[in-house]
């Protein structure tokens, strides 16, 4: 259904097969740590490796660029795909280890994916628990224009809007990089505010609550006000939580704005200007999609994603059923080009 449309895919997950794949990109000290301490993997519980959500049955073993080409890029004639690695490098507790592993992950992505296919772009995965390290990683990789955004997980150690993170956002603005916030927890806190649930279905559902809290934090702390040029890209969020959440936040803000005077215009307007969302998954049955789009109130918010290799749909039904044909040019290309300055540039390695 996508052939011939030159779609831009904003959420594609290269799968790290294990720590042995990353050690070539570490210095001698960390290579030695990995071997001597037996750190064979840091795969994340956010996507249990064998869970059905983690990889579609026909997309398993998707850990090489050849898999991506064969399963997605070639058959669907994807023009550009943005890589969003989810390996657990951001979760490790030791900030120095997180820095080393995240650097290795980003260098692995560059060498084993970006260098192998000109259609690919990537995200600078940030070791967010030390903002200095995160800024350093942006400065290190931003000169490579194939890195088109910075990327964090939605559930961190402290809410995203807190002031200690602001140097990271300043660095994003400086280099014209959107901040992508992807589903996933660093597991510094239970995945619900009432503790740990029993089932993965609950845990996966809780991503949508994480996105609400995180967006609320970015708004109330003043990140969107302080950095009006900063684009926020919410990846794999589920989409339909957005407007009901804003209806409540905006109503509350009318009564409590005295405590956050820097939020000087309606939050819904700020979101329409600065926040974008990937459309997979799209948590709504097809018959209500037109109404959901009407509530979003803008055709500029949604960007198409395959979410490869996660199992969100079957076959090639990667455009959520119910999407009107008139939205497709923006959904498949226009909104991504408007969001990512670096996608509008000529390609240079």
């Amino acid at each position: 259904m996508l052939r011939g449309l030159r779609a831009i895919d904003v959420d594609v997950h290269p799968v790290v097969p294990g720590m042995a794949a990353l050690t070539p990109y570490m210095d001698e000290f960390w290579r030695d740590q990995v071997v001597e301490r037996g750190i064979n993997t840091i795969a994340s519980q956010n996507y249990p490796p064998n869970a059905p959500k983690t990889a579609r049955a026909d997309w398993k073993q998707a850990s090489r660029v050849g898999d991506l080409q064969a399963q997605l890029l070639d058959p669907w004639e994807i023009a550009t795909a943005i890589l969003t690695p989810l390996y657990g490098t951001q979760m490790v507790m030791n900030a120095d280890m997180a820095r080393a592993f995240t650097r290795a992950l980003n260098d692995w992505t560059r060498a084993e994916w970006l260098d192998c296919d000109e259609r690919l772009r990537a995200s600078i995965v940030l070791p967010m628990h030390d903002p200095d390290h995160a800024v350093e990683e942006i400065e290190r990789l931003a000169p490579d224009r194939r890195f088109v955004q910075a990327q964090v997980l939605v559930m961190g150690e402290t809410p995203a809007g807190k002031r200690q993170h602001w140097p990271v956002y300043a660095a994003c603005v400086k280099h014209g990089l959107p901040l992508a916030i992807h589903a996933g927890s660093c597991f510094r806190h239970p995945v619900t505010s009432v503790g740990w649930p029993s089932w993965y279905l609950e845990e996966y559902s809780a991503q949508a609550q994480g996105f609400q809290s995180t967006l609320g934090s970015l708004i109330t702390e003043g990140v969107l006000s302080k950095f009006p040029e900063l684009k926020i890209v919410l990846l794999e969020s589920g989409v339909t939580w957005l407007m009901p959440f804003l209806y409540r936040l905006q109503k509350t803000w009318k009564g409590t704005r005295f405590e956050i005077p820097w939020v000087d215009r309606p939050p819904v307007e700020m979101v329409r200007d600065q926040v974008r969302l990937s459309c997979q998954p799209f948590d709504a049955p097809p018959e209500v999609v037109p109404r959901v789009l009407e509530m979003l109130g803008s055709e500029d918010l949604l960007m198409w994603a395959s979410d490869w290799p996660h199992w969100q749909y079957d076959g090639d039904q990667a455009i959520p059923p119910g999407m009107p044909a008139s939205l497709l040019p923006k959904l498949l290309r226009g909104n991504a080009l408007a969001t990512y300055a670096r996608l509008r540039e000529g390609v240079t390695a």
């Binding site: 239970p190 089932w199 279905l201 609950e202 609550q209 994480g210 609320g216 959440f245 998954p281 109130g297």
Partner: protein, 369 residues
């Protein structure tokens, strides 16, 4: 929102032809020792010496996020004769029940009720005392009021005993929990509560609030009261998901759940999300015999205040339509600052018949009033 002065003479909403039932009124004690008649000497001393020990570290004030107003109350709700808002029955009659012609008001006592206290045994003693206090000071003096069975919810068996004690007493119309329990509300430690409530024919209400002991977001503690108000709706979403996915509503099919002051615009998208991802993950949860959304539609009611405020008013009608017009209950949240005036709360875009049901018909059926 905040009503500073009564805006018109006494009147009931014209659409409330089946009666006006307000499912969220917060009675307060006049003084901390008001519960003493029903507390043992030991727990009286404990309360006086150590106070309420909630899971947020503050002893007094309005922790941990100072509210928008003192005690989060309307400025005009302080009784002329002294005391804090909703501590004086006569003034509550004057300002609320008589003002709007309320036929039935459901009491939801908040702190110092002892709910969610670090000490379960103390919480159980307090729950008993608060329930006796509701009878003695409120429902026996004012036939329009109904009490909630306050339970020490983090102790399931003790909660079940408190429910059994109140079963069959028509002064009580529901069981009351807070929306932030120490673990997700669907966990088996809470099942004795649901079993006892189902047996007693009492709905279980979750009122927004409480401190679970975990960070208020799944990414850490926020900074502002504005965020805390949002988080009430977010934690309620987690609780609905938990009640469904842990199988509570499968195991206790006649259990009626009421989400109070949690908002409701999020209900469709939470249900859609569960249905969507259950398709791929259902192998994990074979104990669910229905689609997740079917449990929500069958077993869960929602109160109106504070109602989300879409840009286009008709969008709230879509949301109500999805939830079910028979599942929405009117609430004023008196005496809090974000009180909904019964005369203004429901949009004229809602048909008179549906407003009639929201104002009273639905609650009369649910609670058997």
């Amino acid at each position: 929102m905040n009503v500073i002065q009564p805006i018109r003479g006494r009147s009931k909403p014209p659409a409330a032809t089946l009666g006006l039932v307000d499912v969220d009124i917060h009675p307060r004690m006049k003084k901390p020792t008001d519960l003493n008649p029903w507390l043992s000497q030991r727990w009286q001393e404990h309360l006086a010496t150590y106070g309420i020990r909630a899971r947020h570290g503050f002893v007094g004030g309005q922790p941990p996020f100072p509210k928008a107003q003192p005690l989060a109350c309307r400025r005009d709700a302080w009784p002329p004769g002294g005391g804090s808002p909703a501590s004086d029955l006569d003034f509550l009659r004057f300002q609320l029940l008589d003002q709007y012609g309320t036929d039935i008001g459901v009491l939801n006592p908040l702190q110092p009720s002892g709910q969610g206290d670090n000490n379960n045994e103390f919480s159980a003693a307090m729950a008993h005392a608060v329930n006796e206090w509701q009878l003695a000071e409120w429902t026996r003096k004012e036939p329009r009021l109904r009490a909630s069975v306050v339970v020490p919810y983090d102790d399931g068996p003790a909660s079940a005993r408190e429910i059994e004690k109140r079963a069959g007493d028509s002064n009580f119309c529901q069981v009351l929990m807070m929306s932030r329990t120490a673990e997700p509300a669907g966990k088996s430690r809470y099942w004795p509560i649901y079993e006892a409530a189902e047996a007693a024919g009492l709905p279980v209400a979750f009122h927004a609030f409480g401190y679970s002991g975990w960070a208020m977001t799944n990414g850490g503690w926020p900074s502002f009261y504005t965020e805390e108000v949002s988080e009430h709706a977010i934690s309620a979403q987690n609780q609905v998901v938990s009640l469904v996915v842990e199988g509570v509503l499968e195991r206790f099919p006649k259990l009626n759940v009421v989400m109070i002051e949690c908002g409701f615009a999020w209900v469709p998208n939470v249900a859609w999300r569960l249905d969507q991802h259950w398709q791929q993950l259902r192998g994990e949860v074979p104990h669910l015999k229905l689609k997740p959304s079917e449990y929500i539609k069958r077993n869960i009611w929602f109160s109106t205040q504070p109602m989300e405020d879409p840009e286009r008013p008709e969008h709230i009608l879509d949301i109500m339509e999805w939830i079910g017009w028979d599942k929405i209950l009117f609430a004023s949240d008196y005496p809090h600052w974000d009180f909904d005036d019964p005369l203004l709360a429901l949009s004229g875009a809602i048909s008179a018949e549906k407003r009639r049901d929201i104002y009273g018909g639905n609650a009369i059926k649910l609670y058997g009033l």
